[in-house]
Amino acid sequence: MLTELRTKEVIVSVLVFALLVLVIFSFAMGTGAGTIEPLAPGILWVALTFGGVIGFNRIFAVEKENSHLEGLMLCPMDRAVIYWGKLAGSFTFMLAVAIVVTPIFLALFNLPLFLPRLAFIIVLAIIGFAAVGTLFSAVAINTRARDIMLPILFLPVVVPVIVAAVKATAAVLAGRPWGDMLTWLQIMIAFDIIYLVIATLVFEFVVEE
């Protein structure tokens, strides 16, 4: 019960953080008409990426503080199950953040609110984020200076997802056809599959004692 409550707090604080990133960027880039539109996809993805980093930092925090992970490790099951459980959690978390942040972003930049294709891009990108983020969160939690370790590990590896998501989002916002974003979707799908497999394989080496 208490854990639930804490998760809610984390979601709210990450949401506020992501919204702040949107606002700060709008100020930093200038809000005059015509100047901000080309930058809009980038701003959305910076907000979601940084929000994700902050959220992923907390994935294993509760377990670490209460040594629950040791308890989980005693369970007679494959370590990969722990990974997929945590992955489902962080994916849902990121999705919740994106569901709130994206409409606000679209409204702030006077863009059409209903964009099913954008939802598709967001889901693909978030799977990639969560796959890498969950793995590295387990690494970072066991190091000193853990809050800074996660972004240092996470951000370089997800560069392809960020590039692809920004490009695909730009295509959607400009109202270009599916064909224009197909390559980027393929990259994200490939990234998601590769990292889901790799992370499942190597996760047991991260959590073993």
């Binding site: 190091t143 392809p160 992370a199 190597v202 080496f205």
Partner: protein
């Protein structure tokens, strides 16, 4: 260290010295100055071999990371770690020699081109590799974590490259393999690649041995304390 190893190291050192001298001779005296870009083009004979060595180094890290997670022998980890360190040093040199060439030729220090961006991302990933090691609570954990990053990070390289290549590219492409290079230039390049590869092997052996000795000493000290 037994006599066989000393002999091997001396042979490698001798070979490295001869090759490096030959490389310097070829780069500065043998090869004629390139027509369009002038004398600055000579940095190419260092830039390409260094880039090659850094990729080789990260590949070796990748292979020995897998080996370490599989077999759990300290020596595999020492090799992976040593190779990552050398790789970071060489990638740093790539990122320095590149702009020195780019400024007079392209007129800019840096551009967000596929090869440049990939090198930069690579550099960041392996800096994270080294950081995780130094921030890990205990060495055994650091070895496991960094092995995981050595694997995950290396797999990222082709994906980053493909992505950024689609994004934009400007780097002089693989003219080397299309036969666009004069024979004398190709000769000089090959000698330089050989020289730097031998240098890499020497550094790798020395550094990995040093790391193994460090682990031994730490173990002895902890035994003494107990």
């Amino acid at each position: 260290m037994n006599g066989k190893h000393v002999l091997r190291d001396n042979v490698l050192l001798g070979l490295g010295f001869v090759l490096m001298m030959a490389a310097l001779y070829m780069v500065f005296l043998y090869v004629s100055t390139e027509k369009h870009t002038g004398v600055v083009q000579r940095i190419f004979y260092f830039h390409v071999p260094i880039a090659w060595v850094s990729f080789l180094a990260f590949f070796i890290t990748f292979v020995f990371s897998i080996l370490y997670l599989w077999k759990r022998e300290t020596k595999w980890d020492a090799i992976a770690f040593a190779s990552a360190e050398i790789g970071v040093v060489f990638t740093t040199l790539v990122l320095i020699t590149g702009p020195i060439w780019a400024k007079p030729v392209w007129g800019i220090w840096w551009t967000w081109d596929a090869r440049l961006t990939t090198s930069l991302v690579l550099w960041l990933i392996y800096i994270a590799y080294l950081l995780v090691r130094s921030f890990a609570a205990e060495p055994a954990r650091g070895a496991r974590f960094s092995a995981v990053i050595g694997i995950v990070g290396f797999i990222d390289v082709p994906i980053v490259f493909i992505t950024v290549n689609l994004w934009r590219t400007q780097h002089p492409s693989t003219i080397i393999f299309e036969g666009g290079l004069a024979p004398s230039m190709l000769m000089a390049l090959l000698v330089c690649i050989a020289a730097f590869t031998v240098l890499y092997v020497i550094l790798l052996i020395q550094s990995a041995n040093l790391k193994l000795m460090e682990t031994d000493i730490k173990r002895l000290i902890s035994m003494q304390v107990e």
